[in-house]
């Protein structure tokens, strides 16, 4: 039934399995033959499924672990898209089932499968509607993975929406006392974002015209499958080139090619005084930054986190927030480089505001989980700043290494934050499961009551603090160092954040773990960490240390792709926008010197 080209797409089944296996199991679990009462079995099936998906993704991402590199597996160190899957889906609108991974998405996929596995293990304390919970949980995993691997904008959007609904229910049903408020807030915020995104998708779809691309670009973007033989490729190209009406596309790679043309079709159209490119960039940016989230569209996050059950908080902080950063990196910048260059100050500014604002807000929280949630806002600010430092302009002789460093740092920060924030939320959850409160003022002395747990928790919190040797440090320092070349003011403010970060994390540690005695209720429930909890916490701490001392485990994946994208865009700046203004005005001292 599948077209013949399937034979030349070795990644079809592995990638499809990674994405859809959770959904398949969710469908099976939801059948009435699965009795609601068999909760233990449902939990184990879910855990097993997520574990299988994790192993599958690891098999793809780290081939050497499983022996020789197969054709479907990821070749570490290559910059381009790999493991491409291309099947027609809705041919009338050129919508395709187009999947693929590169150095940006592969680590995020593994992070997702890994955290899903841990979150499934952390779901044991869930006792309400166990079956429904796990069905939704698996659906959520499919949605998240689909977003990371889909290269068709329409498919991307579908997965994006698929992810929202289970999350809404998971917060709204299994959450804390104000769960309904939090769930609706989450849903409205993210729905607003997706609506704007949909608008941008349609704008880009109807403006783009594949006939503007050369044959090589069409093949490179997989509009014309490179697995076809030369004659078939030529036919397909000719079919596009000779079409009498514009050929629209949802292909993200092709849209990026179009956006980076010297005469970008998106920049040519003007709407209410701004180019369509700018509109699309802004709409997409709003859609993505709500997910990141940045100030001032961040207030769904504390509520959602506080109300969500622990495993969902882990997923929310560990994976969902990354979708925003991923979207900006994968979609906003390559497709709308002109707007990206012009609005880099906006991206950086939002990032810095989030960093400082989130840190200040975290300092003021009385609720442990809320504090961790605000720390996420602050930490994701680094991601925004790193993504935005478009320093490859004329005044900088179009040198792209500082920008590449920023983007690499942002990617690293995303992955590291995935580990540390999931860990932090889990650590809070462990306490909450025992004493059923999160008031920072009513803890204390936990170190003496639960020494192993406290040791692991402090390690994870230090990773959040950005201590060298732990994962938080590398991303922060790379981003901060890179930002100087873009804007000195932002760089100084971002450096200032390290003080606040230290303050709120150490203060929280002091109030919770240190001290002589526990001050809250249910003190007798503070039992030592269980084996299951240890099995979740230890890998997180291990990875936090591993990424801290051996960051190249991640950079091996990330850097080639990021560097190529940044280099491409720097070259684009040189050829298309050589007169882009210098990022920052000369300092007063230099101005004086010149006079």
């Amino acid at each position: 039934m599948l077209p013949v080209a399937t034979l030349d797409q070795p990644a079809l089944w592995p990638l499809t399995a990674i994405v859809f296996l959770p959904a398949l199991v969710a469908a099976l679990l939801s059948l009435p033959i699965v009795s609601k009462g068999r909760e233990e079995a449902i939990r184990w099936i879910t855990l097993l499924t997520t574990a299988v998906v994790f192993v599958l993704s690891l098999w793809m991402a780290w081939p050497t672990l499983f022996g020789a590199v197969g054709p479907a597996q990821f070749r570490v160190g290559e910059a381009g898209m790999q493991a491409m899957v291309k099947q027609p889906w809705i041919p009338a609108f050129n919508i395709e089932y187009l999947l693929g991974v590169d150095g940006i998405s592969m680590p995020l996929v593994v992070l997702t499968t890994f955290l899903s596995m841990l979150a499934a293990a952390a779901s044991w304390p869930i006792t309400k509607h166990v079956k429904a919970y796990h069905v939704l949980f698996l659906l959520l995993e499919t949605g998240m993975l689909g977003v990371f691997v889909s290269l068709d904008f329409f498919l991307f959007y579908v997965f994006w929406e698929v992810m929202l609904l289970p999350m809404y229910f998971l917060i709204g049903i299994w959450g804390g006392p104000r769960r309904e408020y939090a769930a609706i807030k989450f849903f409205l915020y993210t729905l607003l974002g997706s609506v704007l995104m949909l608008l941008a998708i349609l704008m880009l779809y109807f403006t783009g015209d594949l006939r503007d691309l050369s044959a090589e670009q069409l093949v490179a973007a997989h509009v014309v499958s490179p697995v076809l033989d030369a004659a078939a490729q030529a036919d397909a190209v000719a079919a596009i080139k000779t079409a009498t009406s514009p050929v629209h596309t949802f292909n993200l790679l092709a849209l990026a090619q179009l956006g980076q043309l010297p005469e970008s079709p998106f920049a040519a159209v003007n709407l209410w005084g701004l180019s369509l490119e700018t509109w699309a960039f802004l709409l997409l940016l709003v859609g993505f930054v709500i997910k990141v989230p940045v100030v001032p569209v961040h207030t769904w996050l504390p509520d959602a986190h506080v109300e969500a059950p622990t495993p969902i908080s882990m997923i929310l902080a560990g994976v969902l927030l990354k979708l925003g950063g991923y979207g900006i990196l994968r979609i906003c910048y390559p497709i709308c480089p002109g707007a990206g260059l012009a609005l880099a100050w906006l991206v950086c500014g939002l990032g810095v505001v989030s960093m400082v604002y989130g840190a200040f807000a975290a300092l003021a929280q009385k609720d442990f989980k809320r504090m961790v949630a605000y720390s996420s806002v602050s930490h994701m600010g680094y991601v925004m700043l790193g993504l935005g430092v478009w320093s490859a302009v004329a005044g900088n002789e179009f040198r792209w290494d500082a920008w590449a460093q920023g983007v690499n740092g942002a990617m690293f920060q995303m992955l590291a934050h995935g580990i540390s924030s999931a860990g932090m939320f889990f650590m809070v959850g462990v306490l909450y499961d025992r004493v059923h409160h999160r008031n920072l003022e009513e803890f204390g002395g936990i170190f003496n009551r639960m020494p192993v747990y406290s040791g692991l928790a402090v390690a994870i919190f230090f990773a959040g603090l950005g201590l060298p040797g732990l994962c938080g440090f590398i991303g922060e320092v790379l981003v901060t160092l890179s930002s100087w070349n873009y804007s000195r003011v932002l760089a100084v403010i971002s450096a200032f954040t390290v003080i606040l970060t230290a303050a709120y994390i150490l203060w929280a540690i002091q109030r919770v773990y240190l001290g002589a005695e526990y001050k809250g209720p249910h003190g007798d429930h503070l039992t030592p960490i269980t084996g299951r909890e240890l099995a979740i916490a230890t890998p997180l701490v291990f990875l936090a240390i591993l990424f801290g001392v051996a960051p190249q485990t991640l950079f091996n994946y990330v850097t080639p792709t990021v560097n190529r994208q940044v280099e491409t865009l720097a070259e684009w700046t040189r050829t298309v926008k050589p007169d882009a203004p210098a990022a920052q005005p000369p300092l007063a001292a230099d101005a004086t010197a010149r006079r």
């Binding site: 609706i184 409205l188 915020y189 961040h298 207030t299 504390p302 200040f360 807000a361 300092l363 003021a364 929280q365 004329a394 005044g395 900088n396 002789e397 179009f398 040198r399 290494d401 590449a404 460093q405 170190f447 003496n448 230090f462 201590l467 060298p468 040797g469 590398i474 320092v477 160092l481 890179s482 930002s483 100087w484 070349n485 760089a491 450096a495 200032f496 390290v498 003080i499 230290a502 150490l506 002091q510 773990y513 240190l514 001290g515 002589a516 005695e517 960051p551 190249q552 950079f555 850097t559 560097n563 040189r574 007169d579 210098a582 920052q584 005005p585 000369p586 001292a589 230099d590 010197a593």
Partner: protein, 814 residues
């Protein structure tokens, strides 16, 4: 023997040994003997290994670069480095430098070995790595740190024996009354101590600033662990947090410095590095030192190209626009303009910012004004920690870094450093005058002495500052260990409850006297003295030299001289109050006892070193001359800019500075000791009376200049205020807006529902009602009476008939 590979290996292993010990204790600590008793042995064995390896490296170094006698006049440096170059030239290795001397005999790069072990990040021309930079200073610091650490490990294994069994902490009052009872934490202490040693050695061996920053933070967190060792005490955990956060303030500045260097130069390496070029050839990438002081310019300070172009970004952009399409032309045009731009001073501020930023980090770590407030509170930690971390090594890291980074510092920055040091030494010394907690006196003394070192570096006394760093490390750790011994015996920190302890604790009293004499720089003028005598004299001499060269800044010399007097007074006040006279509290004095041998042995060892560390042996071997080997290129002859002259250090060894400095030091120290004796031994001046006379001043000093209160009001409260403001904005404004939007939407929905109910539904209902009413009306027609029905039918039929016929006829007619 190949020092270029041997030295990094030896020092690298010496660096990693404590890490191994840390990991071992982390995982197996509690299982090492009963209550982890053997953890002390593991940690001590590790640090002894480090010491042995460091000594081996030291010997190796001396084998290649023998220390020459220093003739006054500064040619020692030249000789030493001549020799170093000769030796280095034999190695064809990447690390060793053999740059041809360009500018006489003084302008050579000091002998050093540099390289990288490990890369953290590499992208474009930017690279963050873990590497080494080994010169005489590194080797010396390794020996000093590992030696003191060894002594303190041995001492601590005795001092911390309380932690071997369950502990009742009398300083913690539980809510339910009574004191905290907890298991001992003996292994945890040594675990943190090992991690600290690893981190500290990491700073010392670091080959680039990024690595310094990494280990900078790590020593910070070790310090946090160690200050907060008694974490049940609120005061301890608060002090730990305070230390770390205040240090982070300094690190904030340091980050800015790093950014200024990194953003413009793209490297944080100290030394040049040889890397394989694209075509297989070996390319030398310049490090910070040769960028700022290029060999081509005779190692004179200049703004590096990268900073110049960074500052001239708008010009560069204009050139790029002129040469659009031809990047090579643009690049060469930029290159040709650099010297012009440099001439008008572009980028100079960037170098200043970099220097100030790095110094800012040092201000935090070395507890300089205005960030010195954390160090006295850090005395909440166990005394061995105070001795190792908060006096001898970690806090000296800031001074070490200023010394290491010295070639990049501009005269303006050095002046700031000098003034920061002067202010610090004065403030800290005045507070130490009135402190009564024995450890706090020592803490303020530490701050004050660090101020000395900073000042020395700031006025160009590179060797003097670092020399004092080394000698101070010995005698200050000695003093702290002695105070620990006293506290161990008396179970109190309050000097007002001590007195007359010399009789019961002869070793402690004797070694502490040695320490006090060393810190005040006691000696027979021009003949011989304790270690402090030499280092302090050279600082005084250099300060004097600087004051002569820059008369506007003469106050720096007076600060040093005044500080020397204050130091002598408060140190001997401490000694006299503790050991001399009669016991003030007989209960304490009767129970006091000399400490066990395991604690006394380190005291004696350190006391010996406190005496001899400053000596220069016949033939020239001595720490000062060893340091001369590492003097940064281009700094020996002094330099000047922006109206500030940094005098050459060898001038201060000559006359008249040397003589004046020696007599000043001797005089001030003697005066301080005599005043202390007059007040606390002979009682000819009553301290209470003096305090009464200067009551406001006394209160001001006893209140520590109210810095804590000031910072609380200036920074802590506003930050917390902003924090709650931010949180309030979230809840009060953003959420209000969101909720308001939601509320508005609900209201709109309500209006919509009302329209539905009233208008749309109303229409439908009206139709229904009309039909209903019509039915009601029509119903009346249905009377149920047959005869009426018949009539209806008939009438109806007739009517229809008539109607039809009328219509029919009219239509026919029409």
């Amino acid at each position: 023997m190949d020092p270029a590979s041997q030295l990094p290996m030896l020092l690298g292993l010496a660096w990693l040994a404590p890490l191994a010990s840390f990991l071992a204790i982390l995982f197996f600590g509690p299982r090492m003997g009963s209550h982890g008793r053997n953890a002390a042995w593991v940690a001590t064995a590790a640090i002894v290994t480090s010491l042995v390896l460091s000594l081996a490296a030291f010997v190796t170094w001396l084998g290649v670069h023998p220390v020459q006698a220093a003739a006054h006049g500064g040619h020692a440096a030249a000789h030493a480095s001549d020799h170093a170059d000769a030796a280095a030239a034999e190695q064809d290795d990447a690390g060793a430098h053999a740059d041809a001397a360009v500018h006489g005999g003084h302008a050579e790069v000091p002998a050093h070995y540099a390289g990288d072990w490990y890369t953290l990040y590499e992208g474009g021309r930017l690279r963050l790595s873990i590497g080494w930079y080994v010169d005489a200073l590194t080797v010396l610091m390794f020996v000093v740190v590992t030696f003191i650490a060894t002594c303190i490990h041995v001492y601590a294994s005795g001092y911390m024996h309380d932690e071997l069994h369950d502990v009742t902490d009398h300083e913690v009052h539980l809510a339910g009354g009574g004191h905290l009872h907890r298991p001992g934490r003996f292994p945890r202490f040594f675990q943190a101590l090992s991690l600290f040693c690893f981190s500290m050695l990491g700073i010392v061996i670091a080959g680039n600033l990024a690595m310094v920053f990494i280990f900078w933070e790590l020593v910070g967190i070790c310090s946090w662990f160690l200050i907060g060792f008694y974490y049940e005490r609120t005061s301890a955990s608060t002090a730990a947090n305070k230390a770390f956060i205040v240090n982070r303030v300094g690190d904030f500045g340091m980050l800015i410095g790093l950014m200024a260097l990194w953003g413009a130069l793209g490297t944080l390496q100290f030394a040049d590095a040889q890397v394989a070029g694209p075509d297989g050839s070996v390319v030398t990438t310049p490090g910070l030192f040769s960028l700022v002081r290029p060999a081509a310019g005779g190692h004179a300070l200049q703004v590096p190209d990268g900073m110049v172009t960074f500052a001239a970004a708008d010009e560069v952009a204009r050139i790029a626009a002129d040469h659009a399409g031809n990047p090579a032309d643009a690049a060469s045009e930029v290159a040709s303009r650099i010297s012009d731009w440099r001439a008008i001073g572009l980028g100079h501020w960037l170098l200043v910012v970099a220097g100030l930023g790095i110094f800012c980090g040092c201000v935090g770590k070395s507890a300089q004004f205005p960030l010195f407030v954390w160090l006295p509170d850090a005395m909440e930690g166990p005394t061995p920690v105070s001795a190792l971390v908060h006096s001898a090594t970690m806090v000296a890291a800031g001074v070490y870094l200023v010394g290491r980074f010295f070639p990049v510092l501009t005269p303006e920055v050095l002046l700031v450093i000098a003034y920061a040091g002067a202010i610090t030494l004065f403030i800290a010394a005045t507070i130490a005058l009135v402190a009564n907690d024995i450890k706090r006196v020592l803490a303020y003394s530490t701050v004050s002495q660090l101020g000395y070192m900073m000042l020395a570096l700031g006025v160009g006394g590179w060797v003097a500052g670092l020399f004092h760093l080394v000698t101070h490390a010995f005698f200050k750790s000695l003093l702290f260990l002695c105070s620990g011994s006293v506290i161990h015996a008396c179970h109190t920190n309050d000097m007002r409850k001590m007195g007359g302890l010399a009789r019961v604790m002869p070793y402690t009293a004797g070694t502490m006297l040695v320490g006090c004499l060393a810190i005040i720089g006691a000696g027979v003028p021009f003949v011989i003295g304790l270690s402090g005598y030499y280092s302090k004299d050279s600082i005084l001499a250099q300060a004097l030299c600087f004051s002569q060269a820059n008369p506007r800044h003469a106050i720096l010399f007076w600060a040093v001289a005044g500080g020397a007097f204050l130091t002598a007074f408060y140190m001997f006040r401490l000694w006299f109050m503790t050991f001399a006279g009669q016991p003030r509290d007989h209960h304490i004095a009767d129970h006091a006892h000399e400490s066990p041998n395991v604690m006394v042995t380190p005291l004696v060892t350190l006391a010996v070193l406190a005496v001899v560390a400053g000596w220069t042996l016949p033939g020239g071997f001595g720490i000062a001359n060893l340091l001369e080997q590492a003097r940064p290129a281009g700094t020996a002859e002094g330099f000047a800019a922006a109206g500030i002259t940094i005098p050459a250090e060898h001038l201060s060894h000559g006359e008249p500075f040397h003589t004046i400095a020696t007599w000043t030091a001797f005089g001030t120290a003697l005066a301080g000791v005599l005043l202390a004796a007059a007040m606390y031994v002979w009682r000819s001046i009553s301290p209470a009376a003096v305090a009464a006379v200067f009551r406001p001043l006394y209160a001001f000093l006893a209140g520590r200049w109210y810095f804590d209160e000031l910072y609380d009001a200036l920074f802590v409260k506003p930050v917390l205020g902003i924090a709650s403001l931010a949180s309030g904005v979230d809840r009060g404004i953003i959420d209000r807006i969101i909720d308001g939007v939601a509320w508005t939407a609900r209201q709109l929905a309500g209006i919509d529902a009302w329209i539905d109910r009233t208008l749309v539904d109303g229409l439908v209902n009206a139709t229904a009602n009309a039909t209903w009413n019509a039915g009601l009306e029509l119903k009346k027609l249905q009377t149920g009476r047959l005869r009426q029905y018949v009539m209806f039918i008939v009438v109806g039929t007739v009517a229809l008939y008539v109607l039809a016929s009328m219509l029919l006829s009219s239509s026919l007619a029409g």
